[in-house]
């Protein structure tokens, strides 16, 4: 959070006319900043000279809390790191602790995790693509996406009793087994949902105005995306075929068949907003594919390993990565052998995307900034933690 931002205010326009740069304050309360993001927009009429992101309005010092509440106690807080898709945050923390202590998760537990986090991914991507539509001025795709997300929330509620902050995973596995008949209901939902993806495509993805708004806006080359540390769909939108689930396999993911969709520049430049949007649309289909395999092939057995109540891992430091909805989420945890971690650091996808906006925004229009934020899928709690 800062207030001291000064760049040249006055400049000479054509004909010796002195023009003044307009400083617009976009956020923290603004309809399209998806929470409490703030941008200081330096604009020349409708054209931005740059948009300076200013973060920290949703800083809840989650990393400091981790040092005070211990390993088990931190699990509910991880939900709040990214409350739009909390499952993968759960999984990141659980994996970090398991790696610190060398705990093996039962196979059924891993399957449950995959099922939960893939449903979470679909829900999160639905929000993302719906919100992109809404930021472009079309509210219908958003309500249709939210409608489907409600059903996913129902399914996850069956699993863990919560609809947003799940607190489903535990160190060593999951809190609860799948309820009876869960697989049947989940597959019935997928049968209903998959044809609807086509409907979204017809409604919005191939809409002429929508394509015009997103194509060729803020393209990111692969090299820039990597050096900015963009991850997940944002990176894949630039054509880098990299998915932590496939390239650094974890949990039960090596057992499933799925593709990693990448941007192809189909409607404009490679790595533009439309590519990032379409990568998310296609990832929804791949998640459905993984879910079908997981629901059909789930093995029997326990879902959670035996973990002592007072969890004291050996001293050491780990850095694990999970593929969250907004990409490679890095969990760095340092233990000193006591019941409390020395340090937890969470490197999230939105954080890097937010840092990239200042460079990306140069020369775009104000309406494009909204498109860029939406296509990078920035979620405020993840940026600030």
């Amino acid at each position: 959070m800062s207030h001291a931002i000064d760049i040249d205010l006055h400049r000479e326009g054509p004909g010796g006319l002195e023009t003044e740069e307009m400083t617009l304050n976009m956020g923290p309360q603004h309809p399209s900043t998806h929470g409490v993001l703030r941008f200081v927009v330096k604009a020349d009429g409708e054209v931005m000279r740059r948009a300076i992101p200013d973060i920290g309005y949703l800083h809840r010092s989650i990393e400091k809390i981790a040092e005070k509440v211990g390993y088990h106690g931190f699990m509910p807080y991880t939900d709040r790191v990214d409350y739009v898709s909390a499952m993968q945050c759960n999984q990141g923390w659980a994996m970090a602790c398991e790696k610190l202590a060398g705990i093996e998760v039962p196979r059924r537990g891993e399957y449950c995790r995959v099922i939960a986090s893939e449903f979470g991914r679909i829900a999160s991507h639905l929000i993302s693509v719906g919100a992109t539509g809404m930021d472009m001025g079309a509210i219908t795709p958003f309500t249709h996406a939210i409608r489907e997300r409600e059903y996913i929330n129902d399914i996850l509620e069956e699993l863990c009793g919560a609809r947003l902050t799940f607190n489903y995973m535990r160190i060593g596995g999951c809190a609860w087994d799948l309820p009876p008949g869960f697989a049947k209901r989940a597959i019935a939902y997928l049968d209903r949902f998959e044809p609807l993806i086509d409907e979204y495509d017809e409604l919005i993805s191939f809409n002429k105005i929508y394509v015009e708004r997103l194509a060729n806006v803020a393209p990111i080359t692969a090299e820039r995306a990597i050096s900015w540390n963009l991850v997940g769909p944002n990176l894949r939108g630039s054509g880098v075929r990299y998915d932590v689930r496939r390239d650094v396999p974890y949990s039960a993911y090596p057992e499933f068949e799925f593709d990693v969709p990448v941007g192809t520049g189909e409607r404009g430049t490679l790595g533009d907003c439309y590519d990032r949007y379409m990568v998310r649309m296609r990832e929804i289909r791949q998640s459905c594919r993984i879910l079908r395999q997981a629901l059909e092939g789930i093995p029997a057995g326990p879902v959670v390993a035996k973990v002592p109540r007072t969890f004291k891992p050996a001293p050491g430091a780990v850095h694990v990565r999970v593929e969250a909805s907004r990409g490679d989420m890095g969990w760095f945890a340092v233990s000193d052998g006591t019941a409390f971690p020395v340090r937890v650091h969470i490197r999230t996808g939105s954080y890097a995307a937010m840092a990239a906006i200042e460079e990306l925004s140069k020369g775009l229009m104000i309406a494009d900034l909204v498109a860029v934020i939406a296509s990078l899928d920035i979620v405020a709690p993840e940026v600030d933690r």
Binding site: M1, S2, H3, A4, I55, G56, H59, S61, E63, K64, E67, E223, I226, S227, W228, N229, V240, Y242, D247, A317, H319, V320, R321, D328, G330, F332, V334, V342, R343, H345, R347, Y351, A352, M354, A355, A356, E359, D384, R385
Partner: protein, 165 residues
């Protein structure tokens, strides 16, 4: 390149700064002297065989008992699909490190965050301001001896525990 190769390549160039021991693992840990972190990072990025094109994470750890601050650099190569963690330490009283923000743009914010929360000063950083906390905040909250002030601009940070009633 495997972890041993990376370590050997670093030892060749920076025999004095890079620790002869390294820890194997998913992220091989190489300990580096604080003064030469930037040069080591530049080598890691620019040497084609190493090719670390991405700084995945930069985290500071306050080791109060040892009176030092550890800073970890988790580096990733998308080109060669290998990874390494650099560990460096700096005294707790006056933590100073060279910046790597000219090597990877993301380091700009990660270093600002590290300065904000742990008070590590990154020399030559173009814009070392607080990132998450308010500009006029006193202290660095992730230090182990940080004490929360009683109030911030007249807003009290203390409250009665409801359990006492």
């Amino acid at each position: 390149m495997d972890a041993d190769g990376i370590h050997r390549a670093l030892r060749e160039k920076f025999a004095g700064a890079v620790d002869p021991d390294w820890v194997a693992g998913e992220w091989p840990i190489v300990t580096v002297g604080s003064a030469s972190v930037a040069e080591v990072c530049r080598l890691l990025r620019d040497e084609p065989a190493l090719g670390f094109d991405c700084l995945s994470n930069l985290s500071g750890v306050d080791r109060k008992d040892d009176d030092r601050i550890e800073v970890w650099y988790h580096l990733l190569s998308y080109r060669h699909r290998h990874q390494v963690a650099l560990r460096t330490t700096t005294p707790r009283l006056d933590p100073v490190l060279p910046t790597v923000s000219h090597l990877w743009p993301i380091a700009n914010w990660l270093e600002r965050e590290c300065w904000d929360l742990l008070g590590v000063r990154f020399v030559d950083h173009p814009d070392l301001r607080r990132l998450l906390m308010p500009e006029d905040w006193v202290g660095h909250p992730l230090r182990k001896d940080f004490v929360e002030p009683d109030e911030y601009h007249g807003i009290s940070t203390r409250r009665e525990s409801l359990l006492k009633l």
